[in-house]
């Protein structure tokens, strides 16, 4: 920290892009003591980097990767071989009202929307999490498959570890065999923080897992079957977290025990006019939740599914509005629309498709342009180049019409 803080320069904003969780933690802590704000954008595409610069002209990117092609002034994380002498001094006091980070969500205007996070609310939220997970006062090792830049990883690996004195695993294991190996390398009690996509792969691969004391899951609702399978195969408890980038985590459940979620202290939901709003407790501002929630008690609810515009692919979130905006801003695109593709067989991840009117562009060129603007997870599958979009008489584009167009296209391709 003593080496990183001065290297961060004079600007007030730092985009912490460190891939190694330890480097990220040190970078984050350095920002705290150096009075800088950490920026946590959802993707690292060139377009988002440009928008980050518009948000904060003095932003620098802290990176620990030898080859970093992020188009911002870069600060290299100092990787020395000898450890620095331990810093003497008291634990720094961070004012609870201080904005320590901004997280970003994809707005329908095509510009990411910034959400401030204050230290007091973040810490209150994560202390409650530790208590609910049974981890307060029990030092454990945390292995996470999620990056610390994502709100879930930020809360449930980085902050959870920092605030409660747990051991954080620097790496981010990907393949099932690597997850098992990472768990093997740490002593018990060990906690796995992961997502439905990874848990499904873990269970499906048949890899033997060392005894894990707790599994935490978030970013998308876990099916009851998969939850049961995980608890059985791993002989452990699985706890699920519900939240959003804007609000942070706001509810928890044990899916094998009950489908009901229990809200964080002080958080209230109001449902009306087809909209659900969350506020209170550690939530910074009243926030519209992009899921359909049904209140079942003062602090409990059921989750019924997403609002139509929301796109969640393997835990990465966007909106059809945002994606459409990016698509239509590409030179040569006359009209274009994303849609939710049909649910694939075998519970593989559902994608978004797109129908595009762009007479002068070939599909590869279009995809290359999209890659500059949106995360790879949202690249359209299928991508249909069409003469015109199936707009109805009021100019609207029903999702069903887009999917029908896609189905017709693949049938004719198969027949042709």
């Amino acid at each position: 920290m003593a080496r990183v803080a001065p290297a961060l320069g004079r600007g007030a904003h730092v985009f912490n892009a460190c891939a190694d969780r330890y480097h990220f933690a040190v970078g984050f802590a350095a920002c705290l003591v150096a009075d800088k704000v950490s920026l946590l954008p959802p993707t690292h595409t060139p377009e988002v980097m440009r928008q980050l610069r518009r948000f904060a002209a003095d932003v620098v990117c802290l990176t620990d990767e030898a080859q970093c092609d992020i188009e911002l002034p870069r600060v290299r994380y100092p990787l020395h071989r000898e450890p620095a002498a331990p810093a003497a001094g008291a634990v720094p006091h961070i004012d609870s009202a201080r904005r320590v980070a901004y997280v970003f969500t994809s707005g329908s205007t095509g510009t990411p929307v910034a959400h401030a996070k204050t230290w007091g609310r973040l810490t209150a939220c994560v202390r409650e999490e530790a208590s609910r997970l049974g981890l307060a006062g029990n030092a454990c090792a945390i292995i996470a498959t999620v990056p610390p830049q994502h709100m879930y990883g930020f809360e449930s690996s980085l902050l959870l570890g920092l605030l409660n004195g747990h051991a954080l695993c620097a790496e981010r294991p990907f393949y099932p065999a690597d997850i098992a190996a990472a768990l093997e390398r740490v002593p018990r009690p060990r906690v796995l923080v992961s997502t439905p996509v990874h848990l499904r792969a873990l269970v499906g691969s048949g890899v033997a897992l060392p005894q894990t004391d707790l599994i935490v899951c978030s970013t998308a609702p876990l099916s009851h079957e998969l939850a049961l399978e995980v608890e059985e195969r791993c002989h452990t408890r699985l706890l699920e977290i519900y939240g959003s980038t804007e609000t942070g985590q706001i509810a928890m459940r044990q899916p094998t025990a009950s489908p009901e979620w229990r809200l964080w202290p002080g958080v209230t939901l109001s449902v009306g006019d087809g909209e659900t709003w969350a506020q209170g407790g550690h939530i910074e501002e009243p926030t519209r939740m992009l899921d359909v929630l049904e209140l079942t008690g003062a602090d409990t609810f059921l989750l019924h599914g997403r609002v139509a515009d929301l796109v969640n692919i393997a835990g990465k979130r966007s909106s059809l509005g945002y994606l459409n905006h990016q698509l239509n801003s590409i030179p040569g695109v006359l009209d274009g629309a994303f849609f939710h593709a049909e649910e694939p067989h075998g519970a593989a991840v559902a994608r978004v498709g797109a129908c595009v009117v762009a007479p002068g562009l070939d599909p590869q060129a279009l995809v290359a342009q999209l890659r500059q603007r949106i995360d790879a997870a949202f690249l359209p599958r299928p991508l249909l180049m069409v003469a015109r979009l199936p707009r109805n008489s009021t100019g609207k584009l029903p999702q069903a019409a887009l999917r029908a167009l896609a189905a017709a296209n693949s049938e004719s391709a198969a027949a042709g």
């Binding site: 393949y175 065999a177 190996a181 499904r200 499906g204 691969s205 991840v349 790879a376 693949s410």
Partner: protein, 101 residues
Amino acid sequence: MSDKVSPLKQPASAGAEAELTGEVAALIVEALNLDLSPAAIDPEKPLYGEGLGLDSIDILEIALVVSKRYGVQLRADAEGNGEIFGSLRRLVQYIGAHRTR
């Protein structure tokens, strides 16, 4: 007859590799619900990123179906693993060398 036969495995013949290539290509197309025929995957082009356009979600899915079908568990630090998805041919060769089913 080759005089470099290992005690455990025969070096893959060209025919066996071609057959495995077809199998793995079909597995990928089916698992990812891709809108193209297995024969259309160029064995030399990168699978990840700008080649076939797969992302990390797809890679995990492929790793899963490969483990189920061939008993191969992919690891991030496996020899040049960044290269395994460098092309269909490399993936097929890796599977051929490590399969237990």
